[in-house]
Structures are given as structure tokens and as C-alpha cells.
Amino acid sequence: MADWSYIPQVLVSGLGIGCVYGLIGIGFCVIYNASGIVNFAQGAFVMLGGMITHVLFARNGVPLPLAALVAVAAVAALGVAIERVVVRPLWNRKATMFVMILATLAAQIVVERLTLIAVGDQPKTLPVFTDRPPLMIGPVAIGYQLIWIVGGSLAIVAALAAFFGLTRTGKAMRACSINREAAALQGIPVSRMLALAFALSAALGAIAGILITPTQYTAFNVGVPFAISGFIAAIVGGFGRPFGAFLGGLLLGLLQALAIVGFGAGLKNVAALSVLLLFLFIRPSGILGAAK
Amino acid sequence: MTRLRLEGVTRRFGGLVAVDDVSFEVPADGVTAVIGPNGAGKTTLFNLISGFLPPSAGRILFEGKDITGRPPAQIAAGGLVRTFQLVKLFEDLSVLDNVKVGCHLQGKAGLFSALLRPASARREEQAVEARSRELLAFAGLAAMADEPASALPYGRQRMLELARAMAAGPRLILLDEPAAGLNTEESAALSRIIRRIAADGTSVLLIEHDMTLVMNTADRVVVVDFGRKIAQGTPGEVRADPAVIAAYLGTGKSSANEPATQEAPHG
């Protein structure tokens, strides 16, 4: 029998994981809007964010903030590499969407297996960023890592909003998402935007991975489940709407947390996937309606 | 006898009325043409008749039966088959196989016949083969039967699409700008083929921009403009109709052949 007195506590932790799903979901949207491609290698970025930070910090003694920064930059570079090596040739040959999905999924597997060979299959973790006892609000304990996750995510969402709304590059990317041909005619370098979208999306994934790793762990194979949760977030929010995706991530995180209380931790993935199917069958345009 | 009857057919897209209260009849014999300037609503009209779009109002009767809102595959199975303005061939299939697909409605063989191949299925397959080759010969494509459809030059792709539609055994065939992109010689050959199809007992309803083709081929013409029917009659009558002249020529174009050279967007 489930113990419902945990609910507020469970919801709080659901909020944290939901932010992470939201960031990953935004990553999907950024690439999708720039190219119409759904990048199934998104999970690799999340996994690598935590993993590279761990390797730099725990094995090489690099201070945590610097390790995290280097990890984000490295993963962003990997995003660009995947765009150049895998996506670009297929894009030029006008491959079907399905081929593109399959190729990025294969890229995910390649990254996963390389990681397995490099660091082994043991789960790795990171220390919490602020090592203090949790804040108590009534019976609810709020860990400092959760504050980092929620605060960091909100800061990133705000930064993205500013980037898309205020900067020339951000506006150009939005123009590409509305109409690529027209954007190209306006002199916007569409191909560079594609590379930039992959870099941005990879960096988002890496940040999500770094934020969540201290509360869980990272291993070579955590990418796919994270990617699927991020994708669900993007669908729930209305595919192609970055901020809808963040909202979708929060909803999914809360729902999953409740599912764990109700049905046990084992079925949390089944619950998330069922939400996905439900949305696909009944309302594929998401809560807010899909972009475009 | 009336093959097709439209009663007040209307289609709105949001605030735009693409087809506005159109009524006309297509008799069983001969060739009927629908003409009109670009954007007049001709292709929308075809999509409504063939079931690819549901009408917002009105009724469509095929051989007296109400087919309004039926699924398109069912309408085709009932004997009303269409072609497309932009040729939609099965490019990976051979020319012959394209026509064989067209014979789908002529057969019954399902999955188990495919696997077990009983005598009935073999006979059906032979009939399909014979009929397809006959139609290819009719369309002048016999020698190209084994080519991939994508390898045909454009004019012949149009012929193939026509042959494929005829393979379905329609009693009414809708041709959406069959002469688009054809040269004068090909267009003349097409006109003869269409006359022949009509003479063999299949009613023809076509949308066309190429006025020469319409005047040489059609027995009756329906003129639409801004989604409304503005005239109807023989080619001669329509050509003399002031409303038609205003709609067609009022734009300053001096030749009735002019629209043939334009690339038509969906009407």
C-alpha cells in the first residue's frame, strides 16, 4: 500500500527531475525548429555531460565548476561533430525523416559504446554542488541540489528567451524555424544555423546531465531513457515549442514521481511511456498545440 | 443518363470560400471539361468529387447514389477514379507494375492467395498481366513496360498515369490538368486518347488550362471563377459568353491560349 503522506516530498523531487526533462525537451525543439530533424542522439549529450564532468573532477582533480564548463563545451563540440559527420551528409542527400532518425539513433549507440569502452559500465556520480543539510519547509526537505537544478534550469530558460528574443543570431534561428527558404533568401546562413542548433542543443543536454548526476548517477546507458523523457516533454508541450517543452517536462516529472508512489519505482518508465502513447493517440499536438 | 450530379457543393477553408454553391451534371456520354482562371477552385472541386476533401455543404451523386463524404478509396471502388495534377507515379515500380497496381479493383486476391497461389489467383494474375499490357499499348508505352516509371520522360509519365487510372475500370474518370507540361504534339495525342476513352464508354470529366485541348476535346464546358459556376454549354457557346470573356480575358490577356503556358497552382 502506498504511503500518501510522502506526496509533497515526492512532488518536490518530481519538480527537480521535471526541470531536467524540460531542458532535454528544449534541446529536441531547438534542433527540430532549425532543421525539421528529430535528433534521437539527444540522450548521448545528457549522459556525456555528467560523465565528462565526473572524469575530469574525480579522476583528474579538476575543480568542479571548471570540469562542468569544459564538459559543456566538449559536448557542444560533439553536437557539432554529429551534425557535420552524420546529419549533414544525409541532409544534403535529402534523406527521409526516418533515415535521419535511424542515423541519429545509431550515433547515440556509437557514443554510448565508446563511453562504455572508455570508462566501463560502473555507475558514476558527482558530489552535490552545495554540501549542506537540506532546508526544511514543514515536513518537506528541500536539498540544495534541487535548488541548483530548479534555479539553474530557470536561469537557462530565461537566457534562452533572451537569446531568441533579443539577439540577431537568436532571431535568425527563429526565422529558420518559420521558413528555411525565406530565411536563406534573407541572407541567413541556414547551414551554420543548423550547426549552431546542434551545439546549443548538446550544451543544454550536457547541463541537464551535470545538474541531475549528483542526485542520481550516470552510466553509459542512461542516455536513451533521458532522451525519451525529454521527447515526451516536447510532445506534451506541443512539439517545436521550447517553453512548452519545459512545461511538459515539469508535468512529466511530477506525474512520474506520483507514479512511483502509486505503483513502485519499477514502473516509472512504463508510466512515462504510457503518457507518451496517450498523447500520441489522443492529442499529438500536445497541450499547447504543436508549432507550425 | 446522368453519371455525376453536383448539388450546391460548397467548400470553405476558414473564411475563404474555395468552392461556392456549384451545381452541374456530367452526362454519361462524352467529355465534360471544367475550366476557369488560376485559383478558381477547380482542383478543390475535384478533391471534393473524389472524396479527398469533404464538402462543407451540398451533395454529390454518382449514378444517382449519394457519395458525399465517402472515403476516397470507396469512391474509386464505386467506379469514379481520378488522376493528379502533379503526376503521382509509383516511381520505384516498373511501368508495367504501375498499371498492374491500377488493376487492384479488378481483382480479389488477398494475402492467402499470394502465399498459396491457387488456380483462381493464377488466372486473375494472367488477366491482370494481359489487361495491363493492353493498356500500355493503348497509351503507347508497350516498349517501355519494364523500365522503372521514374525513367520515363514527363509526357509519357502523364500517359502512364492515365493508363493506370483506366486500369481501375472507371465509369467516370476525372483528369486533373492532363495536358500540363505537354508539348503541342503530345497534347494532340492526348486529345485523341481522351476522345477514344469517351468513345469506349467511360465518361470523362477534366480540368484544363490548355484551351486548345478543351476546345478540341470537350463536348461540354463548365466555367468556374472565384469558386462559382459562371457559365455552362458547348465549347462554342462558352467561348461566346460575355461572362466567360470577362473572367478569362478581362485581365488584359489577349489570347485564349494564354493560360496554357502558365504553371497553375492549385485552383
Binding site: L102, A103 | D97
Partner: protein, 321 residues
């Protein structure tokens, strides 16, 4: 009556002998395994089981040009039903296999109906989700599946006292099954049913205009594909005698897609050729065992970019036709 002058057909590539090459290759590989026996026979047996699965995948993805990342779900249903019914409930293998296939087709019908209405990445994700949900269920439903521990002691295929236990016996049986599957695919290809699938692949609108009920044919191809997948899953558990969730996991999706693309999507011989090559290559480089999935992923990417129609297309006269 011919109105347009006909042009003559250009010379065609001679087809007969070249078209036989893939089958010859398969026969040589299976024959070699038969003679050598032992480990080689085991590897080729697995390859043949994969060939059954990929032949089914090809009906849905190659012939009808649809997308499913979740056919492993149906292999799992077939495999687990066979395993549970025989190992835990003492059923004979054959009825268990048949029930497994029937159940998989039934589930495919139930999930296929809403799923196949989806398009593009929605369809891809929807089917992927079906595979993942099935995987999670095999892990979590421990009272029936015994979770990660898996089910062992599954009897080999046989009727009454006659069981196929030897390497060579299994190889012969599996070769016959694969031959039957390839034969079925070839017959489907050249039938009214197969042409309707090609039409759905070529242009759904044009197919509809010719009276082909597109949704119905998609669903039928999906059910067929699920049936083949369940058969493969069932064969696997009876040949190996053991099943665990990992057998039908995401690994299977990537491996089978690699096979499909190596062999040539949409061809009749492609699935068999692809299954053999992809199964044998890692074995020739035993030292690289850990790199298998890495290699599959990398090969798949290279193929998708440089040879999207696979190897068997080199031997067939018209690519996918």
C-alpha cells in the same frame, strides 16, 4: 491502338545469374556451418533466426515503406509466451509457439490500429515506446518472467518424442523456416497484395485514388511483420533454451536495422544476406567482441549515408522494385 510512337527499351543488365548470388552466398555459409558444426553452427543458427525477424521487418518497412522501431516487442511476446508455457506450464513447444504468434499478432492489431495513424517522428517514437514498454514489462513482471534472471530450461522444438537437439538438426530446421519465409516474401512481392503494399510505399494518395485502402494494407503488413517477429522470438528461446529481457531489448532494434540495411531494404534476399553478414563479421574478429554494438552503429551510419539501398540491391535489377 498505339497513338504515340514507342521507343525501344535499352539493354537491360542480365539478371538471372546475378540474382542468384545472394542465395548462393547464403547456401555456402549454411553449408559450411553444417559441415563444421559446433560453434559455427550456433552462430549461423542465430543469424537464421534474425533473418526470420528481419524478413518480417522488411515486409513492413521495405515493401510498404512504413516505420517501426518496436518490432522487438512482438519477438518478446512470442519468445516469452513460448518460454513460460513450455518451461513453467509444461506445454509442448509447437502449440506454445503458435499461441505466441497468435498473441503477438493480436497485440499488434490492438496497438497497430491507433499507432499506424501517426506519421513521421510521432510514428517512430510511438513504435519505439511500444518496444520499450514491452521490455520494461519483461523486466518488472517478475512473477511470470523472472525479471533479469530470465527463464531457463526451455525445451527444444519437437513433436512428441522427436526433438531437434543437435546443432545440425537445428540448422536444418532453421534453414527450412528461413527458406519458407523468403519464399513467402517473394510470393507476396509478386502478388496483388504485394503490389498494393508497393503502392502504399510509393504514394498513399495515388494508391487511395486507385481504390487501395491504405490504412488496411498498412495494418496487414504490420500484423505480418509482427507474426514473423514472434516466430523469430519463439525460435530463439527454443534453440537457446533460455530467455531474458536483454534478448529483445534496444540492442535487437539496432542489430536488425543494421541487417536490413546491409542486406538491402525492400529486396527479397536482403534480410537473409544482411543477417548472415552482420552475424558473421563480429565473429571473424573475435578480439573485438566488446566493440560489436559500436561497429553495428557505425556501419549503419556509413550505410545510410553511402549505400542506402544495401548490398543486395547491387544484385537486383531495379533497386527496390
Amino acid at each position: 491502338m498505339t497513338i504515340l510512337p514507342s521507343t525501344t527499351s535499352p539493354d537491360r543488365r542480365p539478371f538471372g545469374l546475378v540474382g542468384l548470388l545472394p542465395w548462393l552466398f547464403a547456401a555456402v555459409v549454411v553449408g559450411y556451418a553444417m559441415v563444421v558444426g559446433g560453434y559455427a553452427a550456433t552462430v549461423v543458427s542465430f543469424a537464421l533466426i534474425y533473418a526470420v525477424f528481419v524478413t518480417g521487418l522488411n515486409l513492413f518497412m521495405g515493401f510498404a515503406a512504413q516505420v517501426s522501431f518496436g518490432q522487438n516487442a512482438f519477438a518478446a511476446i512470442g519468445g516469452y509466451l513460448s518460454a513460460v508455457l513450455t518451461a513453467s506450464h509444461g506445454w509442448p513447444p509447437l502449440p506454445a509457439m503458435l499461441l505466441g504468434i497468435a498473441a503477438a499478432v493480436l497485440v499488434a492489431a490492438i496497438v497497430g490500429f491507433p499507432t499506424l495513424r501517426l506519421k513521421g517522428h510521432y510514428l517512430a517514437m510511438g513504435t519505439l515506446a511500444i518496444g520499450l514498454i514491452t521490455y520494461e514489462i519483461t523486466v518488472e513482471w517478475q512473477s511470470v518472467t523472472q525479471g533479469y534472471m530470465g527463464i531457463s530450461g526451455i525445451p527444444p522444438i519437437g513433436i512428441g518424442p522427436y526433438e531437434v537437439t543437435s546443432d545440425r538438426g537445428q540448422l536444418i530446421l532453421l534453414s527450412l523456416v528461413v527458406a519458407a519465409c523468403a519464399f513467402a516474401a517473394a510470393r507476396i512481392r509478386r502478388s496483388r497484395f504485394g503490389r498494393a503494399l508497393s503502392a502504399v510505399a510509393g504514394s498513399e494518395e495515388a494508391a487511395t485514388a486507385l481504390g487501395i485502402e491504405v490504412a488496411r494494407y498498412k495494418l496487414l503488413a504490420f500484423l505480418l511483420s509482427a507474426g514473423f517477429a514472434a516466430l523469430a522470438g519463439s525460435l530463439f528461446v527454443h534453440v537457446v533454451g533460455f530467455v531474458s529481457p536483454e534478448v529483445f531489448g534496444l540492442h535487437m532494434v539496432i542489430v536488425t536495422f543494421t541487417m536490413l540495411y546491409v542486406g538491402g531494404i525492400g529486396t527479397v534476399a536482403g534480410p537473409l544476406v544482411g543477417a548472415l553478414i552482420v552475424s558473421l563479421l563480429p565473429e571473424t574478429f573475435r578480439a573485438f567482441k566488446d566493440y560489436q554494438d559500436l561497429a553495428y552503429g557505425a556501419v549503419l551510419i556509413v550505410l545510410l549515408i553511402y549505400a542506402p539501398r544495401g548490398l543486395a540491391s547491387l544484385f537486383s535489377p531495379r533497386g527496390r522494385s
